[in-house]
């Protein structure tokens, strides 16, 4: 027994097997120091930020404005990062994530739209036009966090499929509320004239650079919203990254892998599941607030439950648990239907098929989490396979 296993490990040590490009990149990245990582990362981020200005001929979207597409990508990236905390890190299947997106968007809408009875802007409100959006941004995040707490405290006692069904219901409830509370949310008419950051007001741009009326090429409103979302994504990534490296992150991994074992190891599982839920929700709310500001208009149909599935698609496609992966997933989800307008109508079909194909051939996603460990596992399997072949011959 002991001799055979030591032979296996020796074989594994001798031939490390082929190391993929992804593994090598990751190894190289991990051995860089913090400042060096920033040194490499910052130019890449700047290059991505400059994409809508450069508009590379093949990459750009010919039929829709590239800036607006990238702005949408920014919001979806935030959503994917938030959903990844819930699904990827803590392993809680949330099918109603669009509900939090809606709560964030509607909070901004209700507080700043002239159509809303709770409008705090204008002549008799206390929010100035200039700063209204920025002022309600933290309110939107807080309200979404509270809604996450309210949904999470009773439902997180459920597990797996049951949790998925309850959250699916939540997403639908939020949309139905928005659709039916006509006196406050405007019902199917929605809320228009929502506040946005009013900066850069000039003669040519009487409403500022973030206004939907700013159609100057290439520095249109979409580009400015994209840049704003990049800043927010970096802030959120640093926050979530620090959490994942902390005790909280380890607790999430333990819960994801085996909830009972985690509890037996002394991890207060309910508390940490609730934390994941609340943090995920508030990031979703942040994205919703961005959305409300960008289009200055919210209607219930934008928050259909099918969107939740699309967000989940981004997370699973990109690689759940990997923050970079889910951002790539969000890009695919937003970019492809806009680049090839013909597929727009079939996007659910295409992404559904893509999900199924991924589940069969690459269940860990395009950029999986912790390739290092999986690589190690592969080595073990390769060594084991070699040994069994030797025994046969």
């Amino acid at each position: 027994m002991s001799t055979s296993t030591s032979a296996t490990s020796a074989a594994a040590a001798k031939s490390p097997g082929p190391v993929g490009v992804g593994d090598r990149l990751r190894l190289w990245w991990n051995q860089l120091s913090r400042p060096a990582q920033w040194g490499v990362g910052l130019p890449i981020i700047l290059l991505i930020a400059a994409m809508p200005v450069i508009r590379p001929p093949l990459l750009t979207t010919p039929d829709t404005d590239f800036g607006a597409v990238m702005a949408q990508f920014g919001m979806y990236a935030l959503l994917a990062i938030g959903l990844n905390v819930v699904v990827g890190s803590a392993g809680l299947l949330d099918l109603g994530y669009v509900g939090f997106y809606a709560v964030g968007a509607y909070t901004v809408g209700l507080l700043t739209s002239p159509d809303s009875p709770w409008n705090k802007t204008g002549a008799d409100g206390f929010l100035s036009d200039k700063w209204a959006w920025l002022a309600v941004l933290p309110v939107a995040v807080a309200v979404t966090a509270i809604s996450g707490l309210i949904l999470g405290s009773p439902t997180l006692r459920l597990r797996g499929d049951y949790l998925a069904i309850v959250t699916l219901g939540f997403g639908e409830i939020v949309r139905l509320l928005a659709d039916n509370l006509e006196n406050t949310t405007g019902g199917g008419q929605g809320l228009s004239g929502i506040a946005y950051p009013r900066v850069g007001v000039t003669e040519a741009n009487p409403f500022g650079i973030f206004s939907i009326g700013n159609t100057a090429e290439p520095f249109n409103s979409g580009l400015w919203w994209f840049w704003l979302s990049i800043v927010l994504i970096i802030v959120v990534l640093m926050f979530v990254g620090n959490l994942e490296r902390s005790r909280v992150g380890r607790a999430w991994v333990a819960i994801r892998e085996d909830e009972d074992a985690a509890e037996i190891m002394g991890v207060p599982t309910f508390k940490f599941k609730l934390w994941a839920f609340v943090i995920g929700a508030s990031i979703g709310g942040l994205s919703g607030a961005l959305y409300a500001g960008q289009v200055q208009f919210v209607v219930p149909t934008n928050f259909n439950v099918i969107n939740s599935v699309l967000f989940l698609c981004a997370v699973v496609l990109g690689g759940q648990g990997n923050k970079l992966g889910v951002i790539l997933g969000a890009f695919i989800i937003v970019y492809l239907p806009n680049r090839f307008l013909g597929i727009g109508d079939y996007k659910y079909l295409i992404f559904g098929l893509a999900l199924m194909i991924m589940m069969v051939f690459r269940p860990q996603g395009l950029i999986p989490v912790r390739q290092k460990l999986l690589a190690y596992g592969r080595k073990i399997w390769q060594a084991a396979g070699r040994r069994s072949r030797e025994e046969q011959s």
């Binding site: 296993t5 380890r250 333990a254 892998e257 085996d258 037996i264 599982t269 596992g377 399997w381």
Partner: protein, 239 residues
């Protein structure tokens, strides 16, 4: 005063009662075994003691304190640590990370103390030292069992709950695991062991309880029960 004192414990799953009021005690330093066939309620007893299953009736006292209503993760702080049935190793974590999860709640005061405990675990299970960076999910059943016990030891338990450590393992590995269980007990850790492997378990334990369909039907010293004709017939396959 016993370290663990269970009185008249009733535990059910929905409307089905799995334990109909069992009472048992474990003294500090003892190795006590629960023996019984499938469905006798052994694992349910373990889950109730570690706090994963709520009690319908009865009380559990630990170290003189009533812990009947205490949450599972808080019981770990008190010193009740379980190596669960089916091993419960975190499949995506390495051996080292699994062991570190053991001291998640019961943190070490000093780095030296952590190192000493870790060294001790590696001393008991040298195989784990060789495999510290291997992922839990890719290990063999015996190795996973070692990880589960080692991880529980990292929490420095006052009472170690071992749920069927021999389940699904090769006879040689079972021998090895039982030897180590005795060793851990000899070092002063109180152990409550659940087993189907009556021969091994009884010969090594101070006392034992025999469970049958949710009730304690017999109790006594380990060696004593091993010689009992009815136990021999029912659990050792000797007529």
């Amino acid at each position: 005063m016993p370290l663990l004192e269970i009185t008249d414990m009733v535990v059910g799953y929905g409307r089905i009662e799995a334990l109909h009021g069992i009472s048992l005690t474990v003294e500090a330093g003892e190795l006590v075994t629960l023996i019984g066939a499938n469905g006798a309620g052994k694992t349910t007893t373990m889950r109730a003691v570690s706090g994963i299953r709520p009690l319908t009736r009865g009380t559990i006292k630990f170290d003189g304190q009533d812990i009947t209503k205490m949450k599972a993760h808080l019981r770990v702080l008190e010193g009740i640590v379980q190596a669960p049935e089916g091993r419960g190793v975190f499949p995506g974590m390495t051996v080292q990370e699994n062991l570190d999860m053991g001291c998640y709640t019961r943190k070490f005061a000093t780095k030296a103390e952590y190192q000493a405990t870790l060294d001790h675990v590696f001393e008991l299970f040298p195989r784990l030292a060789e495999r510290r960076s291997q992922v839990g999910g890719t290990m063999s059943g015996g190795e996973q069992q070692m990880v589960a016990i080692g991880r529980a030891l990292m929490a420095r338990p006052k009472l170690l709950l071992l749920d069927e450590p021999s389940m699904g393992l090769a006879p040689m590995i079972i021998q090895q695991i039982f030897r180590i269980v005795s060793e851990i007990n000899a070092e002063g850790t109180t152990i409550l062991l659940v087993e189907q492997n009556a021969q091994q378990a009884l010969s090594r334990s101070h006392r034992a309880y025999i469970l049958e369909t949710g009730e304690v039907i017999k109790t006594g010293g380990g060696k004593e029960l091993l010689a009992d004709p009815s136990v021999k017939e029912a659990y050792l396959g000797v007529a």
